[in-house]
Symmetry: C2
Subunit: 293 residues, 2 copies
Amino acid sequence: MKAGELERCAAREIGIGAADADRFGGTADARLRLPEIGAQSTLADVLKLLGHAPVDVRLPERRFANRRVHRGHALVHANQPLENLYVVLSGSFKSTLTEAEGSQQIVAFPMRGDLIGLDAIQGARYPATITALEEANVAAIPYAELTSLARLCPYLERALMTAVSAELVRNYQVMRAIGVLGAEGRVVRFLHELGARAARFGFSARALRLPMTRADIASYLGMSIETVSRAFSSLAAQGLIEVRRRSIRVLDPERLGRAEDARSRTAPPSRAVALSLPASGARRPRQPFDRAA
Amino acid sequence: MKAGELERCAAREIGIGAADADRFGGTADARLRLPEIGAQSTLADVLKLLGHAPVDVRLPERRFANRRVHRGHALVHANQPLENLYVVLSGSFKSTLTEAEGSQQIVAFPMRGDLIGLDAIQGARYPATITALEEANVAAIPYAELTSLARLCPYLERALMTAVSAELVRNYQVMRAIGVLGAEGRVVRFLHELGARAARFGFSARALRLPMTRADIASYLGMSIETVSRAFSSLAAQGLIEVRRRSIRVLDPERLGRAEDARSRTAPPSRAVALSLPASGARRPRQPFDRAA
DNA sequence: CGCACCTTTGAGAGTGGTCAATTTGTGTGG
DNA sequence: CCACACAAATTGACCACTCTCAAAGGTGCG
């Protein structure tokens, strides 16, 4: 592949339907085809985006205002009072946590189908600044109406809880990544996460477009820009991926997945031994076996 | 203070009201005094624990079964289907995430007033194993009845959302800690977290009892046991804390707080410069200033 | 077309991990 | 009741991964 080709291709991939079918997976089935982005979104649109099957039942005809956010602009600022929850219709964001002393950390990359603002419910203020990484569109759900909406439409309530729950689990994964994995492992896991999210909307998990800079990735994964770059280079040298700036092509998903836990901080001597043991805490005779009931 | 005294004192601190007033803060006011632990908990008990003011309005007379969990026993196992959410009445737990390859990571320490099982809603299975670190009691809220309960009592719904939101924010803090802070900073932040949680129920944030082992802390903070121990020793040598096995006494909260960001991985040359700048992303002429509206 | 920013790559230094030994406290059994 | 055994915790020495510093391509936008 010639230099720049993959790059240009990915850059084209801002629109939804214009993707090269070969590269970005087959076109999504009807369930995944999302509505046009206009001035408003219906309740059905929102539910569809959140991943809850657009049941055929009659939904209340509530409409939500859409809002466009330009690259580099903030959707919400940290410490700003909670007004709306937002559902990402298109584009992607970064969620930056800024500590009093100035240290910053990116804690999430909200993308299409993600809910923004759940972390603001406690405290009634957005804890993080949410900035658009590219042109993006969101639907605004007024928080004040949330409870009445949930009462009106049980699906919405369920969708909300599921979204938070999913976010919790995703954060666990990140914590694990940063906690126990080495540099390459973290990057691999990051790619895996991106792939999974792309696949959710019918895109290929093997041709990834990174809307964020290396600095953003570094912050998210708790490492330095240089180390992120080196990890990419190393994985590419192993023939696992192909890196073209903001576009990653996964060449060998199989081996890539195994590469994730390969290097835990400093290479573990032989994982086999550890695996043969009852995995910590279960082999103490003093404490009876765990039993749930 | 003689050796062992602080230790014994803390060990005594399993019961709720028996705390030495001088050491563990004044007795809590009525709002924080929690009900006895019997066979069942009322809705009011649960709401109180979750931190929502026990409004005087008449609450539905729903009662929840309590369950006792012995030290080392699991409340729920990973991958087990979601049945109940649990509110911790007393004691503390560790939430362990186990990956397919055997690597483990502790992602949370549910304690009194915390909600367990929110992460299981998505997927309908508990993603982590929850083990009691000491004798503990929980109230079980059947998940199947959750929506009907929420409809019955709006306060519960609000409490649930707040609880998840708080957990999200707490996880952000942990991610930041593991991501940008050095070993000592992580431990300091951990102590700060424990202190804040103790203070929530009227206990002193300066005399901390650690229900978890060093290994648990290490896993939670993404470091090795030895480094945790070294961090404690170092902080003690600086006169910031006093360490007596599972009991920590904070001697200088002021300086301790400042010690948190002191060492970011490798000491930052001079944070002042970074602070004077508009904090990343705002100083590129190409992109207009962020404005929320 | 040139200035920024992003990205990559190299060299040296430091934090923190691994291995290992010692101390201390807890629980069990003599 | 005391001794033994085991787990938890502490401390030291060595080394590797990753951070910092530094500089050179590469892109895209003004």
